[in-house]
């Protein structure tokens, strides 16, 4: 694997992002809105309580879909060394990414049109897949020169 320093820096950033997205609950705060974790992510997520998981009774700093994406990115990033060994082609990783994007759009649209009702778990799982797919596409850049 090449660019190890860069890989480690982004890994640290993603770990920080996931910790922040857990919200004020793990820091002993009574609520996340107004807490520094909530403020850091208020520009990127609607932070609606009924669409967020909670820790210690305090809602997380992002909704379930965003948390899924962040967690998926981290899980995918940790898996990059394995993905490189699997030698998945760029074509397949891009198809995987497009599929996960399509799933997000379909899930959102279906819910909006009343075709089905998505849940916190389903939103989290779809976000997780998207995050992993993004990392899979990026893994191409870490392949060792032949």
């Amino acid at each position: 694997m090449q660019h190890r320093w860069f890989y480690t820096s982004i890994l640290a950033s993603l770990i920080f992002l996931v910790i922040v997205s857990l919200g004020g609950g793990i820091w002993g705060a009574e609520q996340t809105i107004g807490h520094w974790t909530g403020r850091l992510l208020e520009g990127v997520c609607h932070q609606m309580p009924d669409r967020s998981f909670s820790i210690n009774g305090v809602q997380m700093a992002v909704n379930t879909r965003c948390f899924g994406i962040f967690a998926g990115l981290l899980a995918g990033w940790l898996s990059i060394p394995v993905m490189i060994r699997l030698k998945a082609s760029k074509k397949w990783t891009l198809r995987f990414l497009l599929c996960t994007v399509f799933l997000q759009i379909a899930d959102f649209t279906g819910n909006l049109l009343g075709l089905w009702v998505n849940t916190n778990i389903s939103r989290f799982m779809l976000g997780l897949l998207l995050g992993i797919a993004v990392a899979a596409v990026i893994s191409e850049l870490f392949k060792q020169k032949q």
Binding site: Q31, I33, V44, N63, V137, I138
Partner: protein, 192 residues
């Protein structure tokens, strides 16, 4: 590879990043500002419903979704206009800086809007959000706490907004820029 490409490679410097960063950053910054304004006035003109699902809450998600793609677009622009060869770190720098430019431009435009056109804008949004929270079905102590934190949240200085905004927007655009590098950039022969 022709002579022109080779010359471009040798001339590669941080200065060659800026046109792509500024053009894409300015466009997405403007889009972010306009979208924020649209949802802001939607919020001001809406009746309190007592639901968390309001224009103000959905605006952040939609703006984030739009602006996160700027990193990828910057890489695409760079590979079309400057050089098709782009390394991982260079793509990451393009993405992060694009995120920073978006945050700065969007914030400057918002401040100018309040300064020149609608000095009561932030106050009107806050009043609308408070009216909505007051219509929510929750214990009064929780409601008061929520109103206090919302008011505190709206009353952030521009410097503080930059401090919160740049790292997060920068990181998201860095990630999408890396996707852009994987899709649009070509590898030099010695990297294959």
């Amino acid at each position: 590879m022709n002579e022109h490409d080779t010359a471009q490679e040798h001339k590669f410097s941080i200065a060659s990043y800026w046109p792509s960063i500024v053009i894409v950053g300015a466009i997405f910054g403007l889009v972010s500002f306009v979208a924020g304004l649209f949802f802001g006035y939607q919020q001001i003109n809406s009746e309190p419903t007592g639901s968390f699902f309001s224009p103000a809450t959905i605006s952040s998600g939609i703006i984030c979704l739009i602006t996160a793609f700027a990193g990828m677009v910057t890489v695409w622009h760079y590979t079309k206009e400057v050089s098709p060869f782009l390394k991982l770190g260079q793509g990451a720098a393009l993405g992060f800086l694009t995120g920073a430019v978006i945050t700065v431009i969007s914030l400057v435009l918002s401040e100018l809007w309040v300064l020149l056109f609608d000095p009561e804008y932030n106050q009107k949004i806050l009043e609308s959000i408070i009216a909505n929270i007051e219509a929510m079905d929750m214990p009064s102590s929780t409601r008061d706490d929520l109103i206090d934190t919302m008011a505190d949240s709206m009353d952030q200085s521009a410097l503080r907004q930059l401090f919160w905004g740049i790292p997060v927007t920068g990181l998201f655009n860095l990630i999408t820029a890396l996707i852009g590098v994987a899709i649009f950039a070509e590898k030099k022969e010695d990297e294959l």
